[in-house]
């Protein structure tokens, strides 16, 4: 995820302090991985340097000064470009699992066992995500669905590979 673009996007609705930005980020996107304050401030320094945000005001308090950031026109353009640029689909062609299966076959180990062990791990995670979905709100459901669909694709591959193990063994040992 591009933290810089996300923070910029959050600034579009109005100027915010670094702390507010972190809170907004965590609320929408940081369920599993909240932002560190350090990440917020280093990102804001970079955006400031690149002219994508500006300091809208500084409040003096008991602690350190609190800067309020506002997005610039260049920042708005940058967010718009980022939103409309399609993400490059993950090609999924370098699979550790495939490597493990082939190596197991090459070394005379039980590849079916390996696939079953992986299947168990995948399903365990899928159960956890399904439970989280049941109890969660719409944001939780969408986040978990994204993960569940990817895990399901892996599982289908595991099943298909299990069904083709004999052929694969012949091919790699030929």
């Amino acid at each position: 995820m591009s933290i810089g673009h996300t923070l910029l996007g959050l600034l579009e609705s109005g100027p915010r302090h670094g702390y507010d930005l972190k809170r907004a980020f965590d609320e929408h996107f940081g369920q599993d991985r909240p932002l560190h304050y350090g990440q917020v401030y280093s990102t804001m320094s970079r955006l400031l340097k690149n002219g994508l945000v500006e300091v809208d005001g500084i409040e003096a308090g008991a602690g350190p000064e609190r800067k309020r950031y506002a997005i610039t026109d260049a920042g708005v353009t940058d967010v718009a470009q980022w939103l409309h640029r399609p993400e490059k689909p993950e090609p999924y062609l370098q699979s550790t699992l495939y490597t493990k299966v082939v190596l197991a076959l090459l070394t005379g180990r039980d590849a079916a066992e390996l696939l079953d062990t992986q299947r168990t791990e995948h399903l365990r995670l899928m159960r956890g995500l399904t439970e989280r979905k049941r109890k969660g709100d719409l944001a939780d459901q969408l986040i978990c669905d994204h993960a569940l669909f990817h895990l399901e694709a892996d599982l289908r591959w595991l099943e298909l590979t299990a069904a083709r193990l004999d052929k694969l063994a012949q091919a790699v040992n030929a």
């Binding site: 079953d116 062990t117 365990r124 899928m126 159960r127 995500l129 399904t130 049941r134 895990l151 399901e152």
Partner: protein, 228 residues
Amino acid sequence: MTPAGSLLAARDLRKAYGRTSALDGVDFSVHPGEVVAVMGPSGSGKSTLLHCLAGIVRPDSGTVHYDGHVLTAESDARRSALRRRDFGFVFQFGQLVPELTCLENVALPLRLNGAKRRAAEATAREWLGRLEVDDVHGKRPGEISGGQGQRVAVARALAVRPRVLFADEPTGALDSLNGERVMTLLTDAARDTRAAVVLVTHEPRVAAYADREVVVRDGTARELAGTA
């Protein structure tokens, strides 16, 4: 005897159709309130396993124990009565009676079990509400969507308060959103009523609603380590 703690259990089930072996020594058990997913490729024997467990098909050998009964030793009439009283069924499609309204469909098994019309329809209405399809009670199956029909079918299966619910690809004909809703409602209701659920599916995302998973391959069943 049914093995300790389990409500329904099978031991060494074998079943062949002609020369084709569908089940080749399968053990299985499910506890009250537990949802067990039965997975496996097409033709692996998972539906045959469900039919043997439910007493619809008699295995060639092996036993099915249900709540102290040896189901495989019971007469056809006795197994039918047990199925009607204690078991609920949800299939992929085609299970509602097209001539009856949805309310009448859900009330039907209750009526067959001896409930009076008014009481059966009150219970049916309650279950339609629970499955979020109370608004279709007066419609016939041909007048509602596939997702609504499947919810009506789940309502019908659960309305008799079965002790075991057998679901064979219950979301197979539904889109993702409807499939998920049906699974959530089905497993929530089954857990509330402490019904055991035998869930046959080839979809991992459906199996993820279960407490554990049994994989059937080439007629043998295997519980994957650590899924309990």
